[in-house]
């Protein structure tokens, strides 16, 4: 079932307390593709991401119904720590751990899951992740300094490197460029594009800007009040939105 898909979401419903926030979301995403999730503020985009890697487990009054599969793995029947090892996440605010060095920030995931058998191997993973996040050249001479000295945009790319170091199958990004400058945003987009194409990572990215969706995504999903009102290939949706709301959104009217 769904084995040929990287991500399968079926009838996903989420409640916070008695309030329903997601009202039955279903879609399938092929491997190595990039999905841009759009929708007005409060429509449930972040909730969707947190349902996929089960971060909602930690929201005391959250309740989830429905099915999420990652490469055929039933997320809600699987060990959640194993799920999160396969599903990386980058948040809206850059959040490298301030008490760890740049190196340790990237190494923390591989160490946690025992991915490297030697110091050399760990070094290679860290270097690879930093290069994939296009940060290597800027930090290679100060790997053992704290990340607090980096600019916001660099810190966000470090957060990306930290997630990539686990070689995730799926990468979730929640408005990753919302709080950084355009130059850094472009770099982040480029590295996301590259890990999708070169490393086969499947990406789910929440974005507020239709332009960003057009630039990097293969698919777009449009969520409105907890419902998936539009899902399809980016070009097709942009040229010919099947839903009035999506059209308005792409025209910047929502």
């Amino acid at each position: 079932m769904g084995g040929s898909y990287a991500l399968l979401v079926e009838g996903l419903k989420v409640w916070y307390g008695r309030r329903q926030v997601l009202r039955g979301i279903s879609f399938k995403l092929p491997p190595s593709s990039i999905l841009a999730v759009m929708g007005p503020s409060g429509s449930g985009k972040s909730t969707l991401l947190r349902a996929i890697n089960r971060l909602l487990d930690y929201v005391p009054d959250a309740r989830v119904e429905g099915r999420v599969e990652v490469f055929g793995l039933d997320v809600y029947r699987e060990n959640p720590y194993r799920v999160r090892r396969l599903v990386g996440m980058v948040f809206q605010t850059p959040n490298p751990f301030p008490h760890m060095s740049i190196y340790d920030n990237v190494a923390v995931g591989p160490r946690l899951h025992g991915l490297a058998k030697s110091r050399d191997e760990l070094d290679r993973i860290v270097e690879w992740a930093l290069k994939a996040a296009m940060l290597w050249d800027e930090v290679k001479d100060r790997l053992h300094e704290p990340p607090t000295k980096l600019s916001g945009g660099q810190q966000q790319r470090l957060s990306l490197a930290r997630a990539l170091a686990l070689k995730p199958s799926i990468l979730l990004l929640d408005e990753p460029t919302a709080n950084i400058d355009p130059t850094n945003a472009r770099r982040l987009e480029e590295s996301i594009r590259r890990v999708a194409v070169e490393d086969g990572v499947t990406v789910v990215m929440v974005t507020h800007t239709p332009q960003q969706a057009l630039r990097i995504s293969d698919y777009v999903a449009f969520i409105y009040e907890g419902k998936l009102v539009e899902f399809g290939r980016t070009r097709e949706v942009a040229l010919n939105p099947s839903h009035k709301l999506t059209a308005m959104y792409f025209r910047g009217e929502l």
Binding site: R84, M89, L166
Partner: protein, 280 residues
């Protein structure tokens, strides 16, 4: 209009300064009194003030060796007992607020905070001093640990809660357990606040008298450092000597007050230093 606002501004600032000053008056007054009354006592006794035991009544020699050593030992022992418990309690309350244990611990900590310290002393008296047969430094340390527990816990709680949620989520999203996030992410980020909390507890333990009344005994004229034996403490000595009918004992009390205030100041400065430059 602008002048009125400027005037109000000045008035308001003046009021704030006045209130701050009023709040400081008792502290300043006590410090001054301790310097004026205690200074000469220590000066005339010299180093002996710290190396001799207290004098017999009426005799013009001074010394607080036993209570000074006692206060330091009590502070260390009670910190040793109290801090690890406070630390675990704070982690439970902040990181696992919805667990049953977290809720119970929070309730206990709040209750302990409200309890008069003399009751804590009596409680330790009945459960430790009575079974052991005599007061001891250990019993007093446990009483002090109970007194400082809720304070230190609250301080550490505040420090842990001030760590932004996003770092916890980042840890969890990497596949860490909540406990691992608590101890390898949250606590290290909050480390300065945690240290401050510990120092506040230390200061609290040094200044308390009531919990010692029934638990410590009074090993004042001969030094004992065995935790199972009785001891002495500066606040207890001040409490006894300040009301003594002998001039020389009251003088010792003033000298001891100055020493206690100095110890406080040291811990306070240390706490300030750790607060400075708190990480974001």
């Amino acid at each position: 209009m602008a002048e009125v606002r400027a005037l109000l501004d000045i008035l308001f600032k003046g009021c704030v300064l006045l209130i701050a000053f009023l709040a400081l008056v008792p502290v300043l007054h006590l410090t001054l009194a301790a310097i004026v009354n205690g200074g000469p006592v220590i000066a005339s006794a010299g180093l002996k003030f710290f190396t001799e035991v207290p004098p017999p009544p009426g005799n013009r020699t001074y010394g607080i060796l036993t209570s000074l050593i006692g206060t330091i030992e009590l502070a260390l022992l009670s910190t040793l007992v109290g801090v690890p418990i406070s630390f675990m309690a704070a982690v439970l309350v902040v990181e696992f607020p919805h667990s049953r244990l977290g809720r119970i611990v929070r309730l206990l900590s709040r209750t302990l905070l409200e309890l008069p310290t003399i009751l804590i002393g009596m409680f330790v008296f009945t459960i430790i001093v009575v079974p052991l047969g005599s007061p001891s430094i250990l019993a007093a340390s446990i009483a002090l640990a109970l007194v400082m527990l809720p304070y230190v816990t609250t301080y550490i709680e505040t420090a842990l809660s001030s760590v932004p949620r996003t770092y916890r989520e980042a840890g969890l999203a990497l596949g860490m357990t909540k406990a691992r996030v608590a101890f390898t992410i949250v606590v290290p980020i909050a480390v300065r606040g945690v240290v401050t909390g510990i120092l506040v507890g230390l200061a609290k333990a040094m200044g308390e008298t009531a919990p010692l009344l029934f638990t410590l005994g009074r090993a004042r004229t001969s030094l004992n450092v065995d935790p199972l034996g009785p001891g002495d403490a500066i606040p207890l000595l001040i409490y006894d000597y300040a009301q003594a009918p002998y001039e020389n004992l009251r003088e010792v009390a003033w000298g001891a007050t100055l020493v206690l205030i100095t110890l406080f100041l040291l811990v306070y400065v240390l706490a300030r230093l750790t607060i400075r430059g708190v990480r974001v």
